[in-house]
Amino acid sequence: MTSREATCSCGQLHVRAEGDPVRVSICHCLACQRRTGSSFGYQARFPADRVSVTGRRTEYVRQSDDGGEARHFWFCPDCGSTVFHTGGDPGLLAVAVG
């Protein structure tokens, strides 16, 4: 099965995802713009049990504007890259594609 590795800028925090994502999407919301610093967020969602995470990470919880579930973003405390987030989709974990 395909296995892909995603890491933060400094390489300290990484995730390994087995198999293909169930959904890949981009999002132009202002929260994604602020988090990425770019013009849109870009994420690949995997079943959470197919993803293993290694390294230290800091959690940032953001309440959704649309009244939905809170999102939990995990970033590297050394370089600031947000590598994945959870919440919103039960059982799924979203990895930042970049």
Binding site: C32, S38, G41, Y60, D78, C79, G80, A96
Partner: protein
């Protein structure tokens, strides 16, 4: 003059920018992809005097893979991870702000797209944008110290993009080092015309212009 505010996701780290950026670009390099988590980075260059920063930030310094080995220091919020701006220790007058941090879809659009070789192929861009880094074609000659050949090649590329201020600036550097004062002044004038005071300051502090520093036309352009 427009005042804009940029901030991280949680709002703890923010900055105010007075006036417009002198340059807005996107970059498809893998480092920008990792930092943003998105398909490309999008950055706006300001003169440091235009920016006032508020809040705590953690610094992450990264040395460029490029031959210049330039150090970029990224400033991110320790509470939410949002990178709001970066600085370059070699360029104390420069602050580059992540455009997404302005959360403003009407922010001045990017005029340049760098590292096209790393572009995710589904990303389409308008034809009006300067594509790829033409300077990359000149850089090896510049680094080899063959300034005359670098100036020749740069001039040729500028023929197709006479308004490309960044290329004009770099070509002016080559011409200065090659002893072509008149050409250097002409191209620096184009660069300053597009980039304003920030480019003036950059030129005033750039050692590549040491050979023409006492030229009256150069002094007039940089205002020294």
């Amino acid at each position: 003059m427009a005042t804009r505010e940029a901030s991280c996701s949680c709002g703890q780290l923010s900055l105010q920018a007075e006036g417009d950026p002198f340059h807005v670009g996107i970059c498809h390099c893998l480092a920008c992809q990792r930092r943003t988590g998105s398909a490309f980075g999008m950055q706006a260059g300001f003169d440091a005097g235009q920016i006032e920063v508020t809040g705590r930030s953690t610094e992450y310094a990264r040395t460029s893979d490029e031959a210049d080995r330039k150090v970029h220091v990224f400033h991110f919020c320790p509470a939410c991870g949002g990178t709001v701006f970066y600085t370059e220790p070699d360029e104390p007058d420069l602050i580059v702000v992540m455009v997404g941090a302005f959360a403003d879809p009407l922010f001045p659009p990017p005029v340049e797209s760098g590292y096209e070789a790393r572009r995710h192929p589904w990303v389409g861009l308008p034809d009006t944008m300067e594509r790829d880094d033409l300077w990359g074609q000149v850089l090896p000659l510049y680094e080899a110290g063959d300034y005359a050949a670098a100036a020749d090649r740069g001039r040729e590329l500028l023929g197709g993009q006479p308004e490309n201020g960044r290329l004009a600036y770099n070509v002016a550097c080559c011409e200065s080092l090659a002893g072509r004062t008149t050409d250097a002044v002409e191209h620096l004038r184009i660069a300053v015309g597009g980039g304003g005071d920030a480019v003036r300051t950059m030129a005033a502090n750039d050692q590549d212009f040491d050979p023409i520093r006492d030229d009256p036309a150069f002094r007039e352009i940089v205002g020294s």
